[in-house]
Symmetry: C2
Subunit: 438 residues, 2 copies
């Protein structure tokens, strides 16, 4: 019986998990694929590092050509991370007719569409379940379960670090920096947490999801991106008072204005009604809510990272592409991605309800001033609550307003106007959007 | 180019949706399958009924042999419902080498393992995503995403009617009969609601899930099954007071006692901590929580019924089996089900924490009596709350106790003892289990 020979690029957290799962489940996987899987070559940087138990030394190499140049290798599994040299390796694997499985969200966010097209041309598969939501089968759901449906909206908690920090802030009133420190101590956040807490990692994943859900080719740096550094414990308190929970979300939706289609992609903290499923996805867990025209809402939730959860997804992809290859059906997975030129809607065109936390001096006329500035731009107020005031020392007062749905552009103009006149506003206003899902 | 010819058995709610989706998405589906899908024949009972728009009259037949006996048909889609004649038709399709897609949970609950084995022997696929959780890709997740993992537990809200009724009872304090009537008026519940509210439909689905998750061959009538008829609004109130929400759950878990493996399957109302995702799946929505050894928890939620959500799942299955067939890989899906002789753990061996609502006469010694009966069986009390009392008319008092984890058998003996002695207990005690998931 023929074996399917795998070339592993990288053997760190995820790669180690992949080796373990493939070894431990060898016979089941062979049944499923139609032939045994063999880990033929493993590329690493440091040949002397201790590796996952049972991995034979002679499989390990530091020479990429030993993997990519070996014609007996059928499937390449890229778990290096980063854009370079991963991109070149993946291209070479595709160009030499291998199917590729990757967990690399950054690579896909930057070069996804061109790699998909390259794979399509070469008639090979490019699978990337593990790139978004770790162990959550969201890519598979978009790719397979929804073939006969059209996704109209998606909304996800896709960064576990940010979700952990927000959860801890809300549950115990911790300030951001303390919660971040805790996340770092627990190994959930990197020493340089920017990619996570500033929203870039979530933006990468949103771009990957949007490619599958909407066929969107959108440069990740054009996605409107906000992180969670500015959230304060008081925002969690006020949100709870209005019946909401603050989560960091990646949101994508198809829009049609005057017959012109566009896609709206944005990453920012947002308010979700407290009793929704998404609002109750806590800690490092991830979740993605898909809305299909036929299917309606569909929520998938689970661990977004970790060696084994992620490896479960990588191995599921390996089984798919290896099986397809054996039966001569390679490339079909890639052909099902339907890329289209995409107009990205500017954030000023977005429409939602807002949470506005003004920090004002407690002087006569302050509310009239703010309400006037909002009214001028047709932003109407739904509810209002004030905290503090009557303070002799002149400490700023917190005034929180929930608005009806408004245009982002109008809101920004209103806030700019409020900030200018009258010297009422003590500190910059905190703006949170209400999520478009219930 | 060859087409893949489909024979549809049934064209009601789900069948109509299947026809619509296949027609509306013809070109995408053809890309995905590798050949166009053609709805060649459609079996119904009443040839004159109005059918889904665009379905040609000449495809419709009332003669099963015209579908099953047509050698040009590649894939049979069974959306008739019920065991007979569906079973015979599916067997005939398998025996004549066709792959089969079915949405029929009842058929699978009764004859699943033998149909899987029959399909395996014939080298064809048997797909049934729509049989559990309508549009939720749970079967696909068990079958594909988790190939390299082992499911240790599953816990699901799999009956939309029951979930709707419980949600309405909790949200508006409605009694069961009023909420049921509302569900019937909205078309969520059948005129004969027994299959739904007595838990049998959930038991059917649990048996299907357990077959995939644990390889279990378990007769559905041996699954411990309780419905929701006995839940009263006061149970929702007390549950909330202790921080729980009442849901109707299907629970399956692998157990190992003294090296002997068994599977525990049970269907009953249960208490879930209010802030868990599962507890916040409301209305007619379904959800299934899977726990994989490597993956950890994974929750899938969405519409459990309805023409289009269900049809999305049926069509995804059609694409899989049609594609596999074209590339000569038919039967692989079936081979991946690993059936095993299964020992079903008796319910008396189950262990969980309990909610006990006693209805007692407010007399000295009543609490000592109950506490004594529980202590005798080592069931220890965690919290207690009483409502009513000091009532001159002698109305029963509600005493609710939350226990620590105990054996079901011990609990039953304790309750029997409490009911006997002293004449304290006015009405039967309400017992709810606390779900094993957090
Ligand atoms: N960790 C997660 O939970 C998770 C979840 C989802 C997706 N992902 C994605 O999975 C990928 C891998 O992540 P990871 O956490 O496994 O990373 P990691 O632990 O840092 O492992 C990276 C591996 O690649 C090797 N490597 C890196 N650069 C190399 C080079 N230039 N030449 C040869 N070998 C090189 C390293 O070799 P040495 O061992 O010799 O240093 C190491 O074995 C990334 O794209 C990441 O975004 C990770
Ligand atoms: N409805 C849902 O939301 C849902 C969700 C998940 C799974 N399912 C499952 O899907 C299956 C179909 O459900 P459904 O709601 O679509 O049922 P349905 O609306 O009652 O449709 C049944 C169809 O089968 C035909 N049929 C029934 N018995 C027949 C017989 N002996 N000979 C020929 N034709 C026969 C009927 O023909 P006529 O039209 O001529 O009467 C009708 O077209 C069931 O197994 C159900 O459990 C349904």
């Amino acid at each position: 019986m023929k074996t399917v020979r795998l070339g592993l690029l990288g053997c760190g957290t995820v790669g180690g998990g992949v080796v373990r799962l493939i070894r431990e489940n060898a016979s089941v996987l062979a049944t499923r694929v139609g032939a045994p899987l063999e880990i033929a070559k493993v590329l690493v940087r440091d040949p002397n590092k201790e590796r996952v138990p049972g991995l034979e030394r002679d499989r390990i190499t530091t020479d990429a050509a030993a993997v990519l140049g070996d014609p007996s290798i059928d499937v390449v599994v890229e778990v290096l991370g980063g854009v370079d040299p991963a991109k070149g390796y993946v291209e070479q694997a595709i160009d030499t007719g291998r199917s590729v499985v990757t967990a690399n969200k950054m690579l896909l966010a930057v070069h996804g569409p061109e790699l998909v097209e390259r794979a399509e041309k070469a008639g090979v598969d490019l699978a990337f379940e593990a790139s978004v939501g770790g162990g959550i089968p969201v890519i598979r759901t978009l790719r397979e379960a929804l073939t006969s449906d059209a996704v109209t909206r998606l909304c996800g908690i896709v960064n576990g670090t940010s979700n952990y920090i927000l959860t801890r802030m809300r549950q115990d009133g911790l300030p951001f920096v303390t919660a971040l420190k805790e996340a770092q101590d627990k190994g959930y956040a990197e020493a340089d947490p920017g990619l996570d807490v500033d929203g870039h990692d979530a933006a990468h994943k949103l771009v990957v999801l949007a490619m599958l859900a909407f066929g969107a080719r959108v440069p990740h740096e054009t996605v409107y991106t906000e992180g969670i550094r500015d959230i304060e414990p008081i925002d969690h308190e006020f949100a709870a008072r209005f019946g909401y929970t603050v989560k960091h979300l990646a949101i994508g939706q198809m829009r049609e204005t005057n017959g012109k289609k566009s896609v709206e992609l944005r990453v920012h903290p947002a308010l979700l009604p407290t009793h929704t499923t998404l609002a109750n996805v806590n800690g490092v867990l991830n979740a993605i809510l898909l809305e299909g025209r036929a299917l309606g809402p569909c929520l998938l939730s689970g661990r977004g990272a970790g060696d084994l959860p992620t490896a479960v997804s990588v191995v599921a992809d390996v089984v798919d592409v290896a099986g397809a290859r054996l039966s001569g059906a390679g490339g079909r997975m890639t052909r099902s991605v339907r890329l289209a030129e995409t107009h990205l809607a500017p954030i000023d065109d977005a429409e939602c309800a807002y949470y506005l936390r003004f920090q004002v001096f407690d002087r006569p006329g302050v509310l009239a001033h703010i309400a006037g500035a909002l009214a001028e731009e047709n932003v109407s107020i739904l509810e209002m609550v004030q905290r503090g005031g009557g303070d002799a020392r002149g400490e700023p007062v917190q005034v929180v307003m929930m608005t009806h749905v408004a245009r982002e552009g109008a809101l920004r103009r209103a806030l700019a106007a409020a900030a200018k006149g009258g010297d009422y506003i003590a500190k910059p206003t905190h703006v949170l959007r209400v999520a478009p899902v219930g």
